[in-house]
């Protein structure tokens, strides 16, 4: 079998008396969409945060492409090519689409202007942003220089996904990407997820929306009481099965059913 992109074993995170992650395992395989589902408070965000460096686990080990890593911040994870699409998108409304795509990794002009005057290469950044948005079929926006606050919710989500897709080399984490969107806009985001997978970049999708999860996921990681309960193949189980496992109404299959 190929090396998993992410492999986490025995992750523990405690906050005082609360154990948010209780010896949990986690695995993301190359090229797949892995959905992470679980009841509120099951700790699905906590486990994903531990993987991307947003929280530092108390115990356990994380391997990325087989190599052990210890991230101290999401910025370190990002430098390795791990991108996160946050639920609140993390965009600056008054800045342009191009500026937003490049925050924290701007391109400077070549030569002395970039070296000594630290001048930004705006034309290069705008061209790159335009290309990326076009690739994902998102060029319904008027201008790449238009501020993000003038975009609709779906378009903003598109910008955030495009930013992640443009810079991710390892994998992308998406936290509830369809939670705030309408039917049509959700559809667009689901298509984007499939587009990104088609380029071979695996995705971790945290979602509460069972139809969306069952539609795009290759495997489903069910989280319960701070640990991985099981992983299932959505083709072998129904949504009601998944909900039953998630809430403890039904005995789960052997831990790795998929």
């Amino acid at each position: 079998m190929t090396t998993p992109v992410v492999q986490a074993r025995g992750i523990v995170k405690r906050y005082g008396h609360v154990t948010a992650i209780d010896h949990s395992d986690f695995e993301l395989r190359p090229g797949e969409v892995l959905a992470v589902i679980g009841d509120n408070g099951a700790g699905k965000s906590s486990i994903v945060k531990a993987i991307c460096g947003a929280t530092i686990p108390d115990a356990g080990e994380i391997l990325i492409e087989g190599k052990p890593v210890k991230f101290n911040s999401p910025i370190e994870a990002r430098e390795m090519g791990i991108e996160i699409v946050y639920q609140n998108l993390a965009l600056s409304p008054a800045l342009s689409i191009a500026d937003n795509m490049f925050t924290g990794r701007e391109i400077r002009k070549p030569g002395w202007q970039g070296k000594y005057l630290r001048m930004l290469d705006k034309p290069a950044m705008e061209k790159f942003a335009r290309d990326k948005l076009t690739e994902l079929g998102l060029m319904t926006v008027q201008s790449i220089k238009q501020p993000v606050e003038t975009l609709s919710g779906g378009q903003r989500q598109g910008v955030a996904v495009a930013r992640a897709a443009a810079f991710a080399t390892k994998f992308i984490i998406m936290d509830e990407p369809t939670a705030a969107l309408g039917v049509k806009e959700s559809r667009k985001v689901l298509e984007l997820i499939q587009d990104v997978r088609a380029r071979g970049i695996p995705i971790i999708l945290i979602s509460h929306n069972m139809p969306h999860v069952f539609e795009v996921a290759d495997r489903i990681h069910i989280h319960r009481l701070g640990k991985r309960l099981c992983t299932i193949n959505p083709k072998d189980y129904t949504m009601s099965d998944a909900v039953a496992f998630m809430t403890g109404a039904k005995e789960p299959p052997a831990e790795d059913a998929a």
Partner: protein, 360 residues
């Protein structure tokens, strides 16, 4: 199970009708905009336009009322001279306000550092150049202290700088013994301190170096804010600090650099103020904090952060100068100058709110 289908175009059962649905996704609204809406849209994209228009209108108005003596090259250059110190302070203040902060201590840092430079150069016999460098470094230190309290101790900028205003003010009274350093003493011991008071004439206009310094400070800061990654980060932090954090900006480090730079600019204003005033007075520029905020606000920089161009603060400072000069030359009592500037502030913020309400 039909709902486990993975073909992208089909989607869920309830989405089957989407194929026949209206395909005009978020096409932009092309309804005819009224003139007012279009003006608002243009202003939203160019926030500096408002102060420029106000400046031009006020120049024309006072030119008509006060006539030739207002429009003389001498008077216009005098306005530039008079606003130069507050203008430089307003540049420092703009940096802070763009990050959605506020700095009540700018004038205290400025006067404190002018006292430090004066004490060292005039009384302690330190060479002027070194005194000035120590004063400028002290400005950076004072700014970094504000920034450290705000980013590491997590105090709100208003409270932090309200506190440091008093602290710096007390320090400057202590260092100066509440006494001015006379112009003659500076001339005799450290003429370099008065460097920015020097001036030259071009066709009736007297241009002081402090006015040129003000313009240079604005140009340099404008470049940094608009053409470098650092500047984009400063705007992103003012816009939404949490989002800036998540998108990989080291926000605390950037904020610390903003406060340090602002402190440096304040100390630079302190050096220039020695030449402008001709002496070092601990009581000078007591209202400089509020005057700098006035210039920034009239210049269309949003107090909520992330919006507005630093050039607006330059125009804001000039508008205040034009009003003061125009009203004085029109023979209006000083109290009405204060009255007019009060209204300018309120109108400027009202216009800012009105422009911000535009969404597209």
């Amino acid at each position: 199970m039909s709902n486990t289908t993975t073909t992208p175009s089909k989607g869920q059962d309830f989405e089957q009708t989407l194929d026949q649905s209206d395909t005009r996704v978020a096409s932009f609204d092309v309804r005819h905009h009224s003139l007012l809406e279009r003006i608002r849209h243009v202003l939203h994209n160019n926030p500096t336009l408002v102060p420029v228009i106000v400046l031009v209108l006020s120049l024309v108005a006072f030119g008509l009322i006060a006539g030739g003596k207002f429009f003389s090259a001498f008077n216009l250059s005098l306005i530039l001279q008079q606003v130069s110190i507050i203008g430089i302070l307003a540049a420092a203040q703009s940096l802070i306000i763009i990050t959605a902060g506020i700095d009540l201590s700018v004038a205290a840092i400025m006067v404190l550092m002018s006292v430090v430079m004066g004490n060292l150069a005039v009384f302690a016999g330190v060479p002027s150049g070194i005194s000035i460098i120590i004063g400028l470094a002290g400005g950076v230190g004072a700014g970094v202290m504000n920034g450290w309290l705000i980013t590491k101790i997590k105090l709100p900028p208003f409270i932090t700088t309200l506190g440091t205003w008093s602290i710096f003010y007390a320090l400057l009274l202590w260092l100066s013994g509440a006494q001015s350093i006379r112009g003659q003493d500076i001339d005799a011991n450290a003429p370099l301190l008065k460097f920015f008071g020097a001036s030259f004439s071009i066709g009736g206009a007297r241009i002081t170096l402090s006015a040129l310094l003000m313009i240079a400070v604005f140009i340099v800061l404008w470049y940094m804010l608009n053409k470098t990654a650092w500047g984009r980060h400063v705007y992103a932090i003012g816009d939404d600090k949490e989002a800036a954090d998540l998108s990989g900006i080291r926000t605390d480090r950037t904020l610390l650099s903003v406060y340090g730079l602002s402190g440096f600019v304040c100390a630079l204003a302190g050096w220039a103020s020695i030449g402008r005033v001709g002496s070092i007075s601990p009581q000078s520029f007591y209202e400089g904090n509020l005057d700098s905020i006035t210039a920034v606000v009239i210049g269309g920089i949003s107090l909520f952060g992330g919006r507005g161009s630093i050039m607006g603060a330059l125009f804001g400072a000039l508008i205040v100068g034009v009003f003061r000069s125009g009203l004085r030359l029109s023979g209006v009592d000083v109290l009405w100058q204060v009255f007019a500037i009060g209204w300018l502030i309120i109108i400027a913020v009202a216009i800012d709110q009105w422009i911000r309400r535009v969404s597209a």
